[in-house]
């Protein structure tokens, strides 16, 4: 029928004369140079410009340490776990679900893997499966709270986060679980081409999530769900399933990151989880301002995560106090979110600011 409807319309007098009569300048696709300019604009790749800035600054400040290859290898490997958490968060944020429990999910994965190995004397595959399964269960719980009970995702995951912290304490008795087998530790510290395994895990997970989000119909439905739940539902998207998929992926990837962290430390530490939430959320939100014009995306998140880590690393090497990384991450988060807001609706933002000024001058608009 498609072609026939097209034929009928194309041959009708109305649309045949419309373009000539409408008085609109004919629309031209953007030229190559305009596209290139847009691609290289600060707005599109601010993280890369920031990286260049940080790189030059620290190269001049602490050249002896900052420019050594060992530091960069350590940075790539050490940041892989945080970056993995951020990448796992991307589908969830794209679907409009804010998972604040992501830090506790990391902690749960870390402690459960360690507990299975040390206390339950399981072998490594079983321990890994236990952690991932626990992540999946947490993901389903999040989904049930958000979709089934219609609790806002912020609130629901905040509650879950606290419950998970309690479970972590309960499992570990508040103690570190030490003496993990060497075969498990090698998951985190084993090297290939000078980089630790978690870097390759990150690459694999990022590639898979990127593929699903940007190259498949499922990914399109995720973005539609996040942008307008009702409109997506009316277009036939099963939004409930999409949200289930995203909450489960987020929690499972977080648990995976947790068990890799346990392997890197060769210790199950009940306190590491919450520290991952802020850097991961910062990276994902900062990442959304990169490349895709305000849309959550995997590669933007990876780049943002490593740029933030470069900043933190440089500040550490320069010997600045311990509180600097927290400050850096927090400010980066706020700036990133403000930028994303601005990208989404620059004109209405400016209009809003304009109205504000008009009002303070006592010449408000009555409407």
């Amino acid at each position: 029928m498609t072609s026939s409807v097209e034929e009928i319309i194309m041959t009708s007098a109305l649309s045949a004369e419309e373009p000539a009569d409408s008085g609109f300048a004919p629309w031209q696709p953007p030229t190559m140079s305009a596209q290139l300019r847009r691609m290289l604009s600060f707005q599109n790749i601010s993280a890369l410009y920031l990286f260049v800035l940080l790189f030059v600054a620290f190269s001049l400040w602490v050249p002896s340490t900052f420019l050594s290859s060992g530091v960069w290898r350590a940075l790539l490997s050490g940041q892989a776990v945080t970056c993995l958490v951020a990448v796992g968060l991307v589908p969830s944020l794209a679907a409009g679900v804010f998972d604040l429990a992501v830090g506790s999910e990391v902690g749960l994965g870390a402690i459960l893997a360690a507990w299975a190995l040390a206390s339950a004397h399981a072998n490594v595959p079983v321990a890994v499966a236990t952690a991932l399964l626990a992540g999946a269960v947490v993901g389903v719980c999040n989904w049930f709270l958000i979709v089934g009970l219609r609790i806002q995702s912020f609130i629901a995951t905040l509650g879950v986060s606290s419950v998970l912290l309690a479970m972590i304490s309960w499992v570990s008795d508040g103690q570190q679980i030490v003496n993990l087998p060497h075969s498990f530790a090698s998951l985190g510290t084993g090297q290939f081409l000078g980089l630790q395994w978690p870097v390759y895990v990150l690459a694999g997970v990022a590639l898979a999530i990127w593929y699903v989000l940007e190259c498949t119909p499922t990914g399109r439905r995720v973005y539609a769900t996040g942008a307008d739940l009702d409109a997506a539902r009316l277009a036939g998207v099963r939004t409930s399933r999409i949200i289930l998929l995203c909450t489960v992926v987020c929690a499972v990837v977080a648990a995976l990151a947790g068990l890799l962290e346990s392997a890197q430390l060769a210790t199950g530490d009940p306190t590491i989880g919450p520290g991952y939430a802020l850097p991961a959320i910062s990276a994902a939100l900062f990442g959304s301002t990169q490349f895709r014009n305000g849309r959550m995306n995997v590669w933007g998140t990876v780049v943002a995560s490593y740029v933030l880590a470069t900043g933190v690393k440089g500040l550490q090497l320069a010997g600045l106090p311990l509180w600097i990384p927290d400050l850096f991450n927090g400010v980066a988060l706020l700036v990133a979110v403000a930028m994303a807001r601005y990208q989404n609706s620059p004109s209405s933002r400016l209009a809003g600011i304009g109205r504000l000024f008009a009002r303070t001058r006592g010449s408000g608009v009555n409407d």
Partner: protein, 518 residues
């Protein structure tokens, strides 16, 4: 109502040499406009002709290009001062869904008045009375979000006129009636005329030409940012007005010969929802059936009920011989149903996604390749084809939907559903807030779909639309089919009479509304 311009009355609003440029677009080009006290001036034009830009400049949201003169109120009065006398009701009403009508109406009051002391019954009664003046009969203390579009519009209008301390202010109505039904429009317009008689100047921006002809004294037509006509309404009739807007006389929509006698394609048996009660009907292939009725009659619910967008409490929907699983949108689409929701911004389209992504959202399976990959190139090519088919402007597949004009958004959303090759097309207010040119294009698409064998159900508050399109029209009342008009007996006047007909139980309801309007 339609006196000739009264030169002796003072000018309240004077606009001279107003231009507004956006990057790559001149939205307004040397516009002159004058509104006198007691005068109702209609501003008409295509979507994208500059009407909204003009409104926003008047409201102070945009700065005009240098060289423009805008004078509100008496000569010599500063613009900032004069703006306080200009009341704009925007298309999106500017009311807050989670607040009640009482609270919404309190938002605009002077902050010096301590309204929190006056909370309670007095304020509520005042709000109810004010709303009643505009024909609203609903509880002003419930959140506005739970009310219908027409009731929300009434609140916005009541709010603008609340605390009107002097007669000669200016009221700008930007598409106020898009969600109204005939009788409600009349109630509102009686109030607008009263306001004008008290000495105010009214600027009405509307797509509905019958309203423009019925209400205004003078018509200013914009085309591509320029004023192409500024004349008394007495010198205009409907066709002349269409000609001014479109820049040419629009041929009456060629309805063509639809057999109407295709095989039965959809059978609805006793469906019920919130408003609809036990409704049954049949639809044949190639048939266009209209659904009319006042707000609350079930007209605004029927299409979404069939599709599954709203919860169906009982009844069956059969497509061919197969029953559609109730309240399951995927099943409805798989069975060949397509539903165009009434409000593009609330559930119609995903505004942040591009034209391409919106077009393919309901049906991506033909574009799936190995490993579940979505074929971008094929998708883009298909989008470009559909953009040409529906004469989308600009035909840019990557543009976010929110950056298109209303008419073009609607074209994308209709194309989205035509692309799924529906057996039954359910349309709810298909041309709401759409300009004349796009309207004709949308009608062409609907008729083409019917000619291809789709059954079409058009739920609309626009009698003219139903008369132009439909083979027969069902008139709903209190959730049931009250009467059916066949094509032969279908006229605008007849339909309007049938919709608000005074008989039996329904007259009581209308009486209440009329009383409230006094």
């Amino acid at each position: 109502m339609s006196q000739a311009p009264r030169p002796q009355r003072p000018v309240l609003l004077r606009v001279r040499h107003l231009s507004k440029s956006f990057p790559g677009l001149k939205a307004l080009d040397d516009v002159n406009l004058e509104v006198r006290s007691g005068e109702i001036v209609a501003v008409v034009g295509h979507n994208g002709s500059g009407k909204s830009t003009l409104t926003k400049i008047l409201a102070g949201l945009y700065e005009p290009d240098p060289g423009a003169l805008i004078q509100i109120g008496g000569p010599g009065e500063p613009v900032a001062q004069g703006r306080r006398r200009l009341h704009v009701i925007h298309q999106d009403l500017g009311i807050i869904d989670v607040l009640s009508a009482v609270e919404n109406m309190g938002l605009c009051k002077s902050p010096l008045r301590p309204t929190w002391f006056a909370r309670g019954t007095t304020e509520r009664d005042r709000a109810a009375q004010l709303i009643g003046r505009f024909g609203g009969v609903f509880d002003p203390t419930v959140p506005v979000g739970t009310l219908s579009a027409a009731e929300r519009a009434i609140i916005a209008i009541a709010r603008a006129m609340d605390g009107w301390d002097r007669g000669d202010n200016i009221l700008v109505l930007d598409e106020p009636t898009t969600a109204f039904h005939g009788d409600e429009v009349e109630v509102l317009f009686r109030s607008v005329r009263k306001v004008a008689e008290a000495g105010a100047g009214v600027v009405l921006i509307s797509h509905r030409l019958d309203e423009v002809l019925g209400l205004s004294d003078r018509v200013v037509a914009l085309r591509d940012g320029r004023v192409v006509a500024d004349q008394s309404v007495d010198t205009l009739d409907y066709d002349a007005l269409v000609g001014l807007i479109a820049g040419r006389s629009l041929e009456a929509v060629e309805r063509g010969s639809v057999s109407g006698a295709g095989a039965p394609i959809m059978n609805i048996e006793g469906v019920a929802g919130q408003r609809v009660r036990n409704l049954s009907m049949r639809l044949r292939a190639g048939e266009i059936v209209g659904v009319s009725g006042v707000l609350g009659s079930g007209r605004e619910e029927l299409a979404s009920l069939i599709f599954g967008a709203r919860r169906r409490t009982k009844g069956r929907v059969l497509i061919g011989d197969a029953e559609v699983t109730p309240n399951d949108i995927r099943a409805a689409i798989a069975n060949g149903l397509a539903f165009l929701p009434p409000d593009r911004r609330r559930g119609g389209g995903v505004m942040d996604l591009s034209v391409r992504e919106n077009l393919t959202l309901p049906m991506m399976s033909p574009l799936r390749r190995r490993l579940g990959r979505l074929d971008r190139r094929a998708e883009r090519a298909e989008t470009e084809r559909w953009a040409a088919t529906v004469a989308l402007r600009p035909p840019d597949p990557e543009r976010p939907l929110k950056l298109l004009s209303g008419g073009n958004q609607q074209k994308v959303l209709l194309a989205r559903w035509l692309r799924t090759k529906p057996r039954v097309l359910l349309l709810d207010e298909p041309t709401q807030g759409v300009d004349v040119g796009a309207k004709a294009a949308i009608y062409e698409l609907i008729i083409a779909a019917a000619r291809q064998g789709a059954g079409v159900l058009v739920c609309s508050s626009d009698a003219e639309e139903l008369v132009a399109l439909c083979d027969r029209v069902l008139v709903l009342d209190q959730g049931e089919v009250r009467s059916e008009l066949s094509r032969e007996s279908l006229t605008q006047a007849g339909l309007a009479g049938e919709v608000v007909g005074f008989d039996g139980s329904s007259s009581a309801c209308v009486d209440v509304r009329m009383e409230a309007a006094q």
